[in-house]
């Protein structure tokens, strides 16, 4: 009798090499080289296995064997976005509508109108030139002092704001609290400096009361951006008390488990550096008092020692001082002669094995060479960059700025003209310099009203 054998489950039972021929099921095979079932892309049949294609277009390791691999956890490419603030006001004849310069690669820059404009002190008659330090990069976001408040003692004054920008959201995460020493309802004049403290906190130094003339109240706050909690470092002085010997905080550093505060004694010099064990000491200790022509403008820790960049008054040499690990302060670099009182080492940055300093030396005769970047290798200071004459509207104006090491492994300095009474709007008054090795410097951006605060987000 004719019959028919139907095998519509071919391969459905896979390979069987253990059973004898008469025991095998119809759907079984004894060999299936390069055949498989493919639930990801077939119609349920027995199919050729997928092909294999190389992930990498070029052989790795010189064409040798790939011995193992692992996928990195949570790997993704973080986009670095640099931010440099743009000040308000008509310094160069027009008030830019933009609030920040930004770049995702450090070399090509553009302007944006969000987030909120950062705080700049010169428009509020703040004369410490510290406004380039009112911003930090912290946990892949930037935190900065906003320009959206009315400073004391202007009528209707309000509390300075602390903003967080994560690349998308501009959020006010804190308002600087009153300083009881300056008055029960007296707001801070403005934020002077920020610096990271630990994994959860950063420091905010503020000038309380009017900046000029000096009223002598300042504080350093520890801020937790997660909880929004401010904690004052050191004592809370009584009403009317004078903190920091009447000096204005200008810069911060953390060194040897202590917080270090540089100050300016406007118009007088003889500024001090204070230190304190945060959460432990109840008073600030005066670590040193500098000479009559010196104010402290920048701090950095380099190879285990603390360096202080000075702003000098008339007749003082622009200088960098160093504190060794046992407390002795000595001059590390003294150069030129300040002729007008506007010479300053406004930023100190450790990059690789070297310390870099941004210098404006008003005593240099050739005005085109007044702004320099200096490098210190632990032994010798050298000049690695000198401002070009065609950069900025006027090389005669004092230039201050700030530097950071970016997440792209490059060193950046923002160099901004500091002079509210600047000349024409002919060119730019702020520039960004970038270097990947500390030796070769590239001018990557110029922009009117660009100022020294620089930071980055990683998103």
């Amino acid at each position: 009798m004719p019959a028919k054998m139907s095998v519509y489950n071919i391969g459905k039972a896979g390979v069987n090499v253990d059973a004898n021929p008469v025991q095998l099921q119809d759907g079984e095979l004894t060999e299936a080289q390069n055949w498989t079932t493919d639930p990801a892309g077939s119609e349920g049949g027995l199919r050729k296995r997928p092909g294999l294609t190389a992930i990498n277009a070029s052989a790795g390791g010189g064409g040798t064997s790939v011995l193992g691999a692992i996928n990195l956890a949570y790997t993704f490419t973080l986009t670095n976005t640099f931010y440099v603030g743009i000040r308000a006001g008509a310094q160069n004849g027009a008030t830019p509508t933009q609030t920040w310069r930004t770049s995702t690669n450090g070399t090509t820059w553009g302007s944006v109108t969000t987030p909120t404009r950062p705080f700049y002190g010169d428009l509020r008659s703040l004369t410490t030139w510290s406004d380039e330090k009112v911003m930090i990069s912290f946990k892949n976001r930037i935190f900065y002092a906003g320009d959206d408040y009315i400073n004391y003692p202007t009528a209707g004054h309000s509390a300075p704001t602390i903003h967080m920008w994560d690349g998308t959201n501009d959020v006010i995460v804190g308002y600087m609290p009153y300083n009881i020493a300056a008055g029960a309802t007296t707001n801070s004049f403005g934020v002077q400096a920020m610096a990271p403290l630990d994994n959860d906190h950063f420091l905010i130094a503020v000038d309380d009361g009017a900046s000029v003339p000096v009223t002598g109240n300042g504080r350093v706050m520890k801020f937790n951006p997660t909880t929004g909690q401010f904690t004052q470092i050191g004592p809370t002085a009584a009403v009317g008390a004078v903190e920091f010997n009447g000096m204005i905080p200008t810069c911060l550093a953390v060194y040897g488990n202590q917080v270090w505060l540089g100050t300016e004694n406007y118009g007088t010099g003889a500024a001090k550096i204070f230190r304190i064990h945060p959460d432990q000491d109840t008073t600030w200790t005066t670590d040193t008092t500098f000479g009559a022509t010196f104010n402290v403008h920048s701090l950095a820790v380099y190879k285990g020692e603390l360096y202080a960049g000075m702003r000098t008054l008339l007749g003082g040499n622009p200088s960098i001082y160093k504190r060794d690990t046992v407390g002795a302060w000595t001059a590390s670099l003294a150069t030129g002669t300040s002729s007008s009182g506007f010479s300053v080492f406004s930023s100190l940055v450790v990059f690789g094995e070297n310390l870099y300093a941004l210098c404006h030396d008003d005593g240099v005769v050739d005005v085109s060479e007044r702004v320099t970047i200096r490098k210190f290798d632990g032994t010798t200071w050298t000049t690695v960059w000198t401002i070009e004459t065609d950069v900025g509207e006027s090389a005669t104006q004092t230039r201050v700025g700030n530097g950071i090491v970016g997440p792209d492994g490059a060193l950046y300095f923002v160099v901004a003209e500091y002079d509210a009474a600047g000349a024409t709007a002919a060119t730019s008054d702020g520039i960004v310099m970038r270097s990947t090795n500390g030796t070769t410097w590239v001018l990557v951006d110029t922009f009117t009203n660009m100022r020294g605060a620089i930071g980055f987000t990683r998103t």
């Binding site: 639930p39 011995l67 432990q280």
Partner: protein, 549 residues
Amino acid sequence: MANYSLSQIGTTLNSVLSGGAGTVAALTLPSNVTLSTVATRRPRFALLGSNAFLVNSPTRNLWIDRDRNVMPMNLQPPIVAPVLTAVAGGSLSGTFQVKTTFLLRDVLTGEVVIESPFGPVSATSATLATQYLKANGLPLSKDPVAATSSDFQIANRYRIDRRLYRTTTGPGVPFFPWIDVEGNTQTAVQDDLSDAALDNVAAPTALGNPPGTVGSSRLVLLVSWRGRLWGVDSEKLDDVVFSEEGLFSQWASNRFTIPPKGFDARGVTGFAPRREALGVGKTNALFQVTGTSTANFRVVKLSENVGIEAPESVVIYRDVVWFLWKDGVYQWDGEGIKSISDGKVRAWFTTDTYFNRSRFQNAFATIDPSRNKYRLHLANAGDSSENRWVEYDYVDKIWFGPHQRDDVTPTSAFLLYDTNDVAIPCMGNSTGFLWKDQATRTDGASTAIDSDLTGKFHDMQSPDIEKYFGELALISKIQSAGTLTITPYVGGLDANAGSAISASMTAGRERLRRLGTGRFVRLLMRHNTAAQDVELFGYEVGFHEVGRR
């Protein structure tokens, strides 16, 4: 999303981008660190959080951060004690002792990532009387940490600092964090921090380095489980060591010995981390570690005469473990340990017909989550490289293979993630390439996949009766092109090959020639043309019995 993998290719550690051109970039290793290519020193990777680790092949254990900076996994401890003196000024009084550690600090975040074990304790200081306590002769680390900058590796991202711990006056017994000295340059520091102002948290007690911190030993295996790294000591191959929870640099003295000690020269041969247990395999037994902390970790023997033969054969997916032992592949899940090859393909593993069993130790495997397959790479019989692989469908519980590709030799297998964050099975080969599946049925650019299947001897339930087999009808998925070659074997179990039949893959259904007379019919099907797909739905053969001879 761009996914990156780490891959050891020859003596280089590389970053490989899963998308685009799959850019391969060699990572800069710390100075004085090299990678071995010796078979017994295969690279063993593990992840803990966002950190990756590489052991066994490097001359010292390596840690790779999310940005692919490569650093030592641990720092060697200080070897000298500070010398304490009293310095005028300050406000500290009493006698003290100090000891130090080295720190690896992330300059970008300020976070301490690694802390070395303690160096020796200093002698007791002279009695201070309202003075500073000065620590002289601070140790300097010689560990390499500076990475060369690239487009993603950040130069000098990490820095070695020193941390000093101090007693209270007396000197007291506990040490407390005192001062962090930034950098690896200064050799003296002083401070007058009062006892009351010392950190309330005493010095850590779990500092310690694993084997592989220096070049004299290494971690042979490495895996992550319960938020810890677990490894095998190359000097004591029966010992499992493990880190503190969440702290890859702190290993204290955490250690188990897996019995029987000294049974063979291989010791622990594999880890299998499941959700609630860490499988620990030896060549003759399988153990599990259970518990949640050092207070209640315990080792239990699960099975004798089943163990892990090849460390790289172990694959875990959805809390199910598959691994190769001497006589086949086993599955360990909530229902216990069982062979998944017995009764189907046991002969693959217990005879010398199919594979080179002397190389089972070198087998490697991965998982194909999309196609529900466990892929195990083995050496063909008589060959000395793992040039074949078999597949186990863990849903249908069936096997396929042995597969092969004709142009290159696989050398490793692993699971990576594509640009859509989808897990894809990959294999490395002997020419520096990582391979992944592609829909096109071609290996590489143009190599055909030689697909060859052998069906059963169909006997129509009457193996002793002669039959006449009529036309063969083949049903398949309609393709745009292609021809399948079918070779019928008609006769007894020793039937010879008949004339080949060509079946078009473009028809969907095709009636083919009559097959002939015999007790059995068996079909071999082969397709060996590049870029052509074949999917078979089934076949029919008309027949009638002729009689019994």
